[in-house]
Amino acid sequence: MQRITNRAVEINRNPMTFGEKLYVPAILKGLSITLSHIVKKKATVSYPEKKRPFSPVFRGLHVLNRDEEGRERCTACGLCAVACPAEAITMEAAERKAGEENLYREEKYAAKYEINMLRCIFCGLCEEACPKDAIYMSETVMPANYTRQGMIYKKTDLLIPHPKKVNAN
């Protein structure tokens, strides 16, 4: 049979010798491996006390961005929703009225914006598709939830805090 890799090892099917039948050398060999691991560096960390640094390309929970003046950047163009392979994003757009200029950056905005986190696969295509720098994937790990209802993230869950209101506090 043709081998695909050269890592295959031929199995020794000869009857065991007297030394092997004693099992003692084999037990000692196994124990030495076990004991050597006590002094080795642990592969795990005790989360949540300790946290591993994230990779710079880590894709966590989504956030909806605001601009420097605290206006929502999203214009409900729908590119994130059309880019989403899991079809997790839905939205409804509205026109900005006079007097709402301090709330929304452009004349059109997302009145409703929802991400179904049960469907989201955190691929980051929404972030890549966004022409307005509105949606970003943060370094927060998606928290678990007791109900499925809580996994539907609305605009209030996604929007970052208002920069000026945070400073006032």
């Binding site: 729908g78 059309v82 209802q149 539907i152």
Partner: protein, 376 residues
């Protein structure tokens, strides 16, 4: 007895075709079809006098005719130049044309705002297609784009002067369909703007067709404004018995909701039959229409995104037969989701939705929350 028009042989990008004398190069190329056809932003076969303004259809004539084989000294607008016998035309095979077209696209985008995310035309915009296929990805201009003040031209049509590329199609459409000149291009050169004369609202039964004729998002449907993106709606061909027009339209639907009504367009993006305002703006119920079936949309268009071809019909549910009971539904998205609520029917709102449209929605949501809380 009138003489039959002589047939002329013309070669476009090494493809020879015979067309009647008097045909323009553009129309001869359209008969061949495919990549040979130069793009056209201002020419519209159904509008008399259109063409010759945008310069996107420039082609190189490498041989004038059989009798006079000299090439034409400059690139010519193919929508305005008629064919001669034995003419040889280069479109995509000429590097001069490709380079010139790039320049034309750059010129058209000089003052065109980059607001595609807001624009309702995005997805079916000819300028988007043109710049994607023929333009370069950068601009060299350092000047600010010209802006015009917003002007209200009635409750059905939204005018964005900044997006206008001055193709004059709507001017011709308004003249020829309505027999009354109601709007036009004011000023000259860089200051040219599309407008109605002295803020006069357009009130004609067929004026809605200027929306379909507009290659960019300068004239859009106000009843569809911001309601949905073109590529999330599903185009279906439909007709109704209309006393004023043919009633043959294309509905842009989502589920059972009719979001927008437009005329049917052919493969050159031109209207097949003009439709009246009543069909376009007032018939937003599925029950108003006889639906013929899904429209044929080019596979490469964004509109065909996520629309599954040859989808399998719903299969009979066998789960209860196999496990002896119906599966328990643990979660219904419609109970939680704020989008697409029953209380607010976006397609029925006149004009774009505003924040107060969603207030009623807020109240219903509160009641729903109480109900869900009680059920827990």
């Amino acid at each position: 007895m009138s003489e039959q028009t002589p047939k002329f042989k013309v070669t476009i990008d090494n493809i020879t075709i015979e067309v009647p004398a008097g045909t323009t190069i553009l129309n001869a190329a359209r008969e061949i079809g495919g990549d040979v056809t130069p793009p056209a932003m201002c020419y519209y076969s159904k509008l008399e006098g259109s063409g010759g303004k945008c310069r996107t259809c420039l082609v190189e004539v490498s041989k004038g005719s059989e009798k006079d084989p000299r090439p034409m000294p400059k690139l010519v607008a193919s929508c305005r130049t008629t064919v001669m016998d034995g003419m040889e035309v280069k479109n995509m095979t000429s590097p001069k044309v490709v380079e010139a077209r790039k320049g034309v696209v750059e010129m058209q985008l000089l003052n065109h705002p980059l607001d595609c995310p807001v624009c309702d035309q995005a997805g079916e915009c000819h300028l988007q297609d043109l710049s994607y296929e023929h333009g370069s990805s950068t601009t060299r201009t350092e000047f600010e784009r010209t802006t015009f003040s917003q002007e209200d031209i009635g409750e059905y049509i939204q005018l964005h002067k900044t997006r206008c590329i001055l193709c004059y199609r709507c001017v011709f459409a308004a003249n020829q369909l309505t027999g009354k000149r109601e709007h036009g291009v004011l000023m000259r050169g860089d200051h040219a703007e599309i407008s109605t004369f002295i803020g006069k609202a357009l009130e004609n039964e067929f004026i809605g067709n200027v929306i379909d004729v507009c290659p960019v998002g300068a004239l859009t449907d106000k009843t569809f404004r911001f309601k949905n993106r073109v590529w999330f709606t599903k185009p279906v061909d439909a007709h109704r018995n209309c006393p004023t027009c043919s009633g043959k339209t294309r509905l842009w639907m989502r589920g059972e909701e009719v979001f927008r009504v437009t005329a049917r367009k052919d493969k050159w993006g031109e209207v097949e039959e003009w439709i009246c305002n009543d069909c376009r703006f007032h018939k937003k119920q599925a029950s108003d229409w006889v639906i013929e079936g899904p429209s044929k949309i080019d596979r490469h268009s964004v509109i065909s995104q996520n629309h599954y071809q040859g989808a399998v019909e719903a299969q009979p549910e066998l789960v209860n037969e196999i496990i002896g009971k119906n599966p328990k539904l643990l979660f219904d998205i419609h109970e939680v989701s704020d989008v697409n609520r029953e209380e607010i029917d976006l397609s029925k709102i006149n004009g774009p939705a505003h924040s107060d449209n969603f207030l009623a929605n807020q109240k219903a949501k509160h009641e729903r929350k109480l109900k869900v809380g009680r059920n827990k």
